[in-house]
Symmetry: C2
Subunit: 335 residues, 2 copies
DNA sequence: TTGTAGGCGTTATCAG
DNA sequence: CTGATAACGCCTACAA
């Protein structure tokens, strides 16, 4: 097994100095075409791949950024990641991702891992600890979560306005004539913001809020609490809702499932709105009206803000908020 | 902004030499407890994080492996990744992931990127080009796909026996008394293997195969072809199937959706089996019987095989095949 | 058990 | 424009 070719090998084969090779590789303008071609030829001939390790060590930066993701199984992150990649690719940055929940389970600190990698910047996607990242001293942006920690840490926050999304969903139902609109919520900062949007809208409309909180954000938990909510007799104090806003799509599917088991037709007898516009919402069997935060757009914005921070130097905080939109499908009917 | 502390700083503060620090960090046994503690104390006091860049450059390996994933949005990979992480964490390996489809779109070659990172090994998850990886000379294993390319390249393959899975699903339906069992398939190697399992089982049972292929692996495409399949009048030549095996869960949901639109009850008039046991299969609204390949177990196995290959030296090919199992839910009824 | 010296493959800084 | 030369931070013999 022969050793990898180095920049020396390339230089020798091309008949130039090592520095010239380095310049060509980072396409500096001040290189004669002849020499440049000679170098390029040598590179391909030797199947040479420059070492990022050495480059990072010697240079002032690694041109890499780390992304800390809460939970990979959330499709939201996948889209956001795609947006990030495209934005960062333009700046020539490579990105490496870490799964916060899993790494925690394994006893690994992703921030520490990224410091060891000497990443130029960090993107915090999800409800991870912004203060810890800020303390690490690595330039960072927070993607998708507007919480106190991030703002205290003075990190830019690129987020969807989830309260506005909750409001949007609720208003959509109200416009369809619904007045008994319930909210199936869950633990977590994200759910809390969506729920607050619901409450604000309800208050604004002069209606009575009904919030039930499932023990977790999954479909099964939502199905159970929804079953209870829908099964209760139509008493004067708490009439059965004619519409439900669930704080995420799986939970909305849980609500629909519960309704179906009780013989309540959707959208005939019950309208349902979800959140995130995940793939399941588009399934024919579900056809769920949902609020979309366009995670891809968020990801791109986060990448741009981070690049600006890294290259522009002392850029301002530059947080950005995006307003979600409603994707209407077949789970809502007029009352 | 002060510079990062280096191993020199730690050594100085602890009153020892740089090499001793290096030994402590890699917990070599031959270090006196007193010195060890002094070093550890200095490390935390200085908030020192060793540079993987420098370590990789100087050492004989980087203790990192790259994972090339076909398409992040496939939940299957998420589980497999978790398994990989746990297995590789035991060996002290860090892993970095690349998204094949997205990187291709951006014009980046993940193999090249990993070579630049000097990863010790590569895990190929999905239908990427095994030969190219083999050519790169980096030790690698293929996770989840048994195709010709990998075997020709003499890479270990850790895969679920998908043909067995297709067979399993079909037999399950046959045991329930179904005789007109159709298969809703799609393009791709994976679907092809599952479909072949179906065909084998059908042949073995002496039944007539009915395969319809959707243009892609999505729910919508499956819904359309299923609608056509189910709508056709009960002619002598092609009776309407009483059961359908779909090569993945979203497609199965598409089949159920099509049935519902046609007023065909599931599982009353039509039984459906999916594949992958994705989260949606467990949703109450869907309650889909599905074949499970246990991707997490696969991931762990792949990690172990790769570690063996990296540390054991000249280990054999050591491919491993896992037999999937059936997860029975509510979408199948006796005929 | 501890310390010393050399080198890993680049980039960056200066002279030519 | 081009070509030496010194870092970069660590590992790995080897010597003490």
């Amino acid at each position: 097994m022969k050793k990898r070719p180095t920049i020396y090998d390339v230089a020798e084969r091309a008949g130039v100095s090592k520095s010239l090779v380095s310049l060509v590789l980072r396409d500096s303008p001040r290189v004669s075409d002849a020499k440049r071609e000679a170098v390029l030829e040598a590179v391909t001939a030797l199947n040479y791949t420059p070492s990022r390790l050495a480059a990072g060590l010697a240079g002032t930066r690694t041109r890499s950024v780390g992304v800390i993701i809460d939970d990979f199984s959330n499709l939201w992150f996948v889209e956001a990641l795609a947006g990030l990649r495209t934005a960062l690719a333009e700046g020539g940055y490579a990105l490496s991702v870490a799964d916060a929940s899993l790494n925690a389970h394994l006893g690994i600190d992703p921030i520490e891992a990224f410091r060891a990698l000497r990443v130029d910047g960090i993107v915090l996607a999800g409800e991870a600890s912004a203060p810890a990242v800020a303390r690490s001293g690595v330039p960072a942006v927070v993607l998708g979560v507007r919480d106190l920690g991030a703002e205290l840490a003075e990190l830019p926050v690129i987020a969807s306005d989830e309260a506005a999304g909750g409001r949007l969903a609720t208003m959509h139902l109200a416009v369809q004539g619904h007045r008994d609109i319930a909210c199936v919520s869950a633990p977590g900062a994200s759910a809390a913001r969506r729920e607050r949007g619901y409450c604000d809208a309800i208050a604004e409309l002069g209606l009575t809020p009904t919030v039930v909180r499932a023990p977790d954000t999954g479909e099964a938990a939502a199905r159970e609490v929804a079953a209870e909510l829908l099964a209760r007799a139509e008493s004067a104090q708490a009439p059965r809702p004619t519409a439900v806003f669930a704080v995420n799509d799986p939970m909305a599917v849980g609500v629909i499932g519960a309704a179906r088991e009780l013989g309540i037709a959707v959208p005939g007898d019950l309208s349902v709105v979800g959140y995130d516009d995940s793939p399941i919402a588009a399934y024919g069997l579900v056809s769920l009206t949902s609020v979309s935060g366009d995670p891809r757009e968020l990801g791109e914005a986060a990448g741009q803000v981070l690049i600006a921070k890294l290259e522009g130097g002392a850029t301002q905080i530059a947080s950005r908020s995006f307003t979600p939109r409603l994707v209407a499908r077949g789970s809502v009917a007029a009352y």
